[in-house]
């Protein structure tokens, strides 16, 4: 029983570490190398890919979303701090213009907040 209980506690610790404490890799967008200052985030299988991006502060840029996930949850993307809410057509690029932003972290997510991503501005 002790082993089972230890395994259970270990599993809980793993859940906490994997989903909350671990800091996943951030994709840094080098705007000088991206065509027309644009960058594509794919929405597929209930995830944004990449889900964490880092961009330069005080510089407007465009990001594009390519939605390949047909589920209705993936239909819209919201960036609440920027008051951006856009519908994403299936299998088509959708450009979203980001204003020049102050340094900080900006969440983006689907309508139900099940698919989540983060823009780090620095």
């Amino acid at each position: 029983m002790l082993m089972i209980n230890l395994a259970g506690l270990l599993l809980i610790a793993l859940i906490i570490w994997w989903f909350w404490l671990y800091k996943p890799e951030v994709v840094v967008i080098d705007t000088s190398k991206v065509d027309n200052n644009e960058f594509v985030i794919t929405v597929e299988n209930g995830t944004y890919s990449p889900s964490r991006i880092k961009i330069a502060a005080n510089k407007p840029m465009s990001i594009q979303f390519m939605r390949k996930d047909p589920s209705p949850c993936a239909e819209a993307v919201l960036i609440p701090a920027l008051q951006i809410s856009e519908s994403l057509p299936l299998n088509k690029l959708k450009t979203i213009q980001l204003p020049a932003m102050d340094a900080g972290e900006y969440d983006f997510h689907c309508q139900m907040n099940m698919i989540q991503g983060k823009i780090t501005v620095s």
Partner: protein, 748 residues
């Protein structure tokens, strides 16, 4: 100059950009062509039509189509087609999964025998296990792929829970099949039916949710459907039918009775009545003659007209409205933030609860503890529904904002919607909001002496028109308008003299005329005694009396007033009946302000307020703790609208500037304001019901699934029941949001 946006197909490298731009620039009439390679679009400023541009691109070896910016209808039908494909896929997945799950479940219910106790049973259940695996691969693939992708991204969603729940049930069952001896005899139960049933039921739930979601966008579909596909334009003296996207600025467009207006424009010929209800909510057709504006999507009722196109493509009022409504429908009011915070942590928390539940059962549960631990952990994972929480707010916002648009109320975003439902004090600007904003001549009272001399209302009006014909003062314009309506022509005045702040003096037909306010009369020692009572009466009726004297003898009073809109009284009462404090602001003098306020039933008003002081008044109310709505014309009142908690711009028909406020009322009636408040309240109520339902569902469902009722009632939830509850909890939320579609503002 019109700007077309073309979508380019076949451009695979950077060098294509130059080739395509050059090809387009060679088309006659093209001023500028710029390609966005990343988006594969070209933006072209040209006087030529889009066909010529598409042809030029095709000749250069690529394919081009007109961008979707003007083609909302196509985007919508593409979305519906994609949804339909997804719906069919979900239904197929559901049928496959249930065709295994239902017979298995029935077998279990009838025989009560789902355990592995012999080598034959091992073989049979192994085959069933493989069939279940096939169901998982074919019908549930999207859950497992989604869960894995999320896991790799260090996030978790509904797929994670379903994948874990069904996966655990299947794995345990396979262990029972392969190594029954490793499991206590009482616990050698297989759960293949649970896996198949849950996959089937959740696919069914998703399909039903998709269908119900389709209905939430009915309003936007109706708006998009208003856009006609063709227009009849006059080119080279000929009337020809062309595609709507070929209409360019300054085209002369013919519209016959019963047809839709194709683009925004100004009537150049003809007279008609136009039904604008679909955009403004105004039920009565609006008369239009030369010089009047017409808007795309409205219906020409009676006459045939020609109009000049002033806004085409994505610049029409209709296109603006569609864009704004679509954006607003996706936005979220603050009330949804708590659900957002919860849903961000929800899935890992549920996973932890499942593990804790399993540990408790293993440690303290009855025999066979392992079976109980498995069932409760699986049920906890399956019953938890982050989707119901996530859907609660956006679905209601989608329907509520769409419903508002149908009533001619454009809500900028979810935050405005929520705040509008909480307004405690509504500030109304008088001119143009409560009143029509266009003064009109209301009374002409001729003195008995002058009447005896043969002066009539008509002759007095003619004299007044003669004196005021050169003036642009609103009161003078009111006099001229009435004179024009009655076919009275102004005469000639001599020795004309304007006396600032008083009025005018002039000679007409050898007589000295004075026309102005009481001060002008008093300073010229003209006896007003005969009319004192009438003048007071007029002021009490919110009318501005002006006096006319002929050769130093009072001849008449001409009263001018800005009439109160027909339905202002009833609409203000609706606001007050909702418990709202209604306050009027005006630059007018106190007497007129009081008269108007009394007439419309407002007890609180601020008179003689300069335009720049309006925002200070709003702030004063906010300092008193009020949540303040400010309603004005959106132009003069812009600072006050911006500072208020919610700014309402009230328009007159389709001309209103829809960018200038939180909420735009497309029709001039204050009932639009009361409707906006009513719809926002109904939407917030709906959101609260949804959130409450979703919270309660999860808060009650998860502990029950974990087995809290078992020690007292011996009750344990079956994982299949949990799957059904989870699937239908989201459908319930969407269905409840859809109830808002039947919302009707109070009859008026």
């Amino acid at each position: 100059m019109p700007v077309y946006e073309l979508l380019i197909d076949g451009a695979s490298c950077g060098s294509c950009v130059k080739k395509i731009e050059t090809a387009i620039q060679q088309v006659e009439g093209v001023e500028k062509a710029e390609m966005n390679f990343a988006q594969r679009t070209v933006s072209v400023s040209t006087t030529s039509n889009s066909d010529a541009l598409i042809l030029a691109v095709e000749k250069a070896g690529y394919n081009a189509t007109l961008s979707q910016a003007e083609n909302e209808e196509q985007a919508l039908s593409e979305k519906e087609a994609a949804d339909w494909v997804y719906y069919k896929k979900l239904m197929q997945d559901m049928i496959l999964a249930l065709s295994l799950g239902v017979p298995l479940m029935l077998y279990g219910l009838i025989t009560g025998e789902m355990s592995v106790n012999s080598s034959q049973e091992q073989i049979v259940w192994f085959v069933v296990g493989v069939l279940t695996l096939l169901v998982m691969v074919f019908s549930g693939r999207h859950f497992y792929v989604g869960a894995w992708q999320s896991f790799k991204n260090h996030s978790a969603n509904m797929d994670t829970l379903i994948a874990l729940g069904t996966g655990t049930a299947w794995l345990y069952s396979m262990v029972v099949v392969f190594a029954p001896e490793a499991i206590p005899e009482m616990a050698r139960h297989v759960y293949f039916e649970a896996t198949a049933m849950i996959i089937g039921l959740i696919n069914l739930g998703l399909a039903m949710e998709l269908k119900a979601r389709g209905r939430t966008s009915d309003a936007i579909k109706r708006l998009i459907g208003l856009q006609p596909k063709t227009a009849r334009v006059v080119r080279d003296g000929q009337e020809i039918d062309i595609d709507i996207d070929q209409v360019v600025l300054n085209d002369i467009v013919r519209v016959r009775p019963g047809e839709k207006i194709s683009v925004d424009g100004i009537v150049t010929e003809g007279h008609t009545a136009i039904d604008e209800s679909m955009l403004t909510g105004e039920p009565m057709p609006v008369e239009k003659t030369e010089g009047a504006n017409v808007a795309a999507g409205t219906i020409n009722k009676t006459g045939s007209i020609l109009f000049k196109a002033t806004r085409v493509g994505k610049n029409t009022s209709l296109a603006h409205i569609i864009r704004m409504v679509k954006q607003a429908q996706n936005s979220k009011p603050p009330i949804g933030r708590l659900a957002d915070v919860i849903s961000a942590y929800f899935v890992p928390v549920i996973m932890i609860i499942a593990v804790v539940s399993a540990m408790v059962w293993l440690n303290f549960g009855p025999h066979p503890a392992i079976a109980y631990a498995l069932v409760t952990a699986t049920t906890v994972l399956i019953i938890a529904c982050p989707c119901a929480l996530g859907l609660a707010t956006p679905m209601s916002v989608m329907v509520g904002i769409g419903k508002s648009a149908e009533a001619g109320v454009l809500i900028r975003n979810g935050e405005a919607l929520q705040t509008a439902s909480q307004i405690t004090a509504m500030v109304l600007d008088k001119t143009g909001t409560i009143t029509l904003g266009a003064p009109k001549l209301t009374d002409i009272l001729v003195t008995d002496i002058m009447a005896a001399k043969g002066f009539t209302e008509a002759t007095i009006l003619q004299l007044a028109a003669t004196l005021e014909s050169g003036s642009e003062h609103p009161l003078a314009m009111a006099i001229m308008e009435t004179a024009n309506e009655k076919g009275i022509e102004a005469g000639t005045a001599h020795s004309f003299k304007a006396i600032a702040g008083h009025g005018v003096q002039a000679e007409v037909d050898g007589k000295t005329l004075l026309f102005g306010n009481e001060k002008l009369m008093r300073s010229n020692k003209i006896d007003l005694d005969d009319f004192v009572e009438q003048a007071q009466q007029l002021a009490a009726e919110a009318k501005t009396p002006m006096y006319l004297s002929i050769d130093n003898q009072l001849a008449a009073i001409i009263a001018v007033a800005d009439p109160i809109k027909d339905d202002s009284i009833a609409a203000i009462k609706r606001l007050q009946d909702n418990g709202m404090r209604v306050i009027m602001l005006t630059g007018d003098n106190r007497a007129t302000a009081k008269a108007v306020a009394d007439k419309v039933g407002i007890t609180e008003f601020f008179a003689e307020v300069l335009p720049e002081e309006k925002s200070a008044k709003v702030q004063e109310l906010q300092a008193q703790g009020e949540i303040v709505g400010m309603t004005g014309d959106g132009i003069n009142d812009a600072p006050a609208l911006a500072i208020a908690n919610v700014g309402f711009a009230i328009g007159t028909g389709t001309d209103v500037a829809i960018e200038s406020s939180d909420i735009t009322l497309m029709r001039g009636s204050l009932h639009g304001l009361a409707d906006a408040i009513a719809i926002s309240k109904a939407t917030l109520r709906n959101i609260k019901q949804n959130l409450f339902g979703a919270f309660i569902y999860n808060a009650a469902g998860v502990p029950i699934a974990a087995g809290v009722l078992f020690p007292v009632f011996g009750l344990l939830l079956n994982p299949v029941i949990a799957g059904a509850a989870m699937a239908f909890s989201s459908v319930t939320v969407v269905t409840n949001a859809n109830r808002l579609r039947f919302f009707k503002a109070e009859e008026h």
